[in-house]
Subunit: 362 residues, 2 copies
């Protein structure tokens, strides 16, 4: 549901919340007020984002007790150890159960701050302020919070919904090109799994997006969030349909884990993973060659990697994929494509073909 003010409601019963999308939202001094119940606020952000947006936001919240925590920037800090720094600050500043956490940053900050909110004093409020394209279209919607474990990505976490999400497209102006591209990987994902019309729109408009055209970005963010919100509303805790949102993620997480979360960006790993999933779908006879080609071409135009690093062996891949959360009772389940815009989740595929795929270097 979208109203005139570019607001989308994620429908989850008594856990429903709005996503505000627009340029300059953070400049409105009272944007947070309706979502803060208590008198304390902790803003969690990182070293990259803090110099750009922390000051003004802090100022606009001057009626509250505002504390801040600036973490180092990067997926490799999404650990229990850095999560603990959020707890430390909350306790040091004596935040009580009616506090509100504000996650100001990309997916890493959102995931960690959300998990801290889910678990501090068994649950306090939080607000997502995503400042990367990836976070605006993906990690800020759906209530998945987590930290990584050395043996697997997002292995420790909770389902926990924010009070609201504020996606200010103006923050994308300062986003590095490489992160913009990584965010587009998740945008393309929504076209691939559930929205062929959107995929076609992307084929036409990808250059505008790469050039940070504000109107095109707003359309892409809104359409991505609509798709995600619709799927999440049907299956909040991922017992069924929601799993299609993980297209490319089982491959991608294996790539990220192999690199200890330090080399490729999440979106880059997912782009490679989506091509691999499309290619496996083709090998299985489910997706026509033309579909794989279109996926490769669109992701290539986003300057994203189209295959796993050549240093990863098939055995290492299978090993890492075996601990993925999508494994059910020992059988590996993958998100695969029947067509552009039509994904399925299945463990019913020829595992020999998967092995062959991982041995090939396309």
């Amino acid at each position: 549901m979208v109203d005139a003010a570019n607001q989308l409601i994620v429908e989850l019963g008594d856990r429903s919340y709005p996503i505000h999308i627009g340029e300059g939202l953070l400049q409105a001094s009272d944007i947070f007020a309706p979502y803060i119940q208590g008198e304390q606020v902790l803003i969690v952000t990182n070293e990259t984002v803090a110099p750009l947006y922390l000051g003004p936001i802090e100022k606009s919240l001057s009626r509250y007790q505002v504390d801040t925590l600036v973490l180092p920037d990067g997926e490799r800090y999404k650990t229990l150890q850095y999560l603990n720094k959020i707890y430390d600050r909350l306790l040091e500043k004596r935040h009580n159960r009616s506090t509100t956490l504000i996650a100001l940053g990309g997916g890493v900050i959102g995931d960690m701050t959300g998990f801290a909110a889910a678990t501090y004093q068994r649950g306090v409020s939080f607000i997502q302020v995503p400042t990367t394209l990836l976070a605006q279209v993906d990690s800020s919607v759906g209530g998945k919070t987590a930290v990584n474990h050395p043996q697997g990505k997002n292995m420790i976490g909770a389902f926990y919904q924010p009070e609201c999400v504020i996606a200010d497209t103006a923050t994308l102006k300062t986003l590095p090109e490489r992160e913009l591209h990584a965010g587009l990987a998740e945008v393309v994902k929504y076209g691939l799994i559930a929205d062929e019309g959107f995929f076609c729109w992307l084929e036409t408009n990808v250059e505008q997006l790469m050039g940070k055209c504000p109107d095109s970005l707003a359309v892409a963010i809104m359409r991505s969030c609509e798709n995600k919100a619709r799927i999440v509303s049907q299956d909040e805790r991922e017992t069924g349909i929601r799993a299609i949102l993980n297209l490319g993620h089982t491959f991608g997480h294996a790539i990220e884990t192999a690199q200890s979360y330090s080399d490729w960006l999440h979106g880059e790993a997912i782009a490679a993973g989506m091509v691999m999933a499309a290619e496996l779908s083709r090998l299985l006879g489910w997706l026509p060659s033309d579909g794989v080609l279109r996926a490769r071409e669109l992701l290539g135009r986003c300057q994203l990697p189209l295959w796993a690093p050549s240093t990863m062996s098939a055995d290492r891949f299978l090993d890492l994929m075996a601990v993925d959360k999508k494994v059910m009772d020992g059988s590996l389940r993958l998100v695969l494509l029947k067509a552009i815009g039509q994904a399925i989740v299945t463990s019913e595929f020829d595992h020999q073909l998967l092995r062959e795929l991982l041995k090939s270097r396309l």
Copy 2:
């Protein structure tokens, strides 16, 4: 609701679960079967309990992939660091989302294993097998899971319900006297907060309980669980009435934190805290002297401490109480008594009287 087989149902909608109470329940080979959906089980226990009960339980679960983790015994190990050992084992043994965790031990094992279950892969199943009186009457009922933080007890946690609780009274035969007494503190608590009839029964039967009379213990456990289940059903996430279960806990947690969770047992700190709460209630003119006297006497017959250690200053106390989870928007809320069997939660009390109370050494 109690059926013929000594089973109590905690009514929480689609999160309802049964508590089985009885002697020798763990000897029934199929007691776990209805509550295990997947093919993997991790039993988490401690060095004290493992030699007594781990072997037989492991054997009775031989149809599953059974892994075990034996932690050191004690509240001071209820930390993020030891929680991480549970995640390590789960990942090392490749447990997937359909795994079941079994918490075999006292409150510390139950709280940590429950929190691990709440957060491993964003939530897996768990079964509580409490082996101490305190865990059987209290921490196994109500879904509170947590670990401690150096700056506060149970500061990191979640509300998460088990599949079932199996309270085998036979396990109390091996329970050290001191832990039995600590458990009785929580039993007495139910009388004090909500059940005057039970309090009178305890005054008559406390020697039988101290002597580990199985029938008396079964009555005390059932009545305590009934009281707790009734209160929790009304207010699962502690937004109101449930807070009365914390009688003595704000004082008690301050004592435990001051000792770094290493000296007094939880039940001992809570016993002292309940006397302090009763005494403050008297100073406020709410509870007759006779009520304080009866509380002191019954707890004294359980060989429990009746006041905080004399080494704790009033300032240290107030400091530690200020970070307690019951603090709302900066005002300290306490559970106090209007009568035996009638508790209230309030921040409306004369704080000067609290300071005087903490300065006095009764």
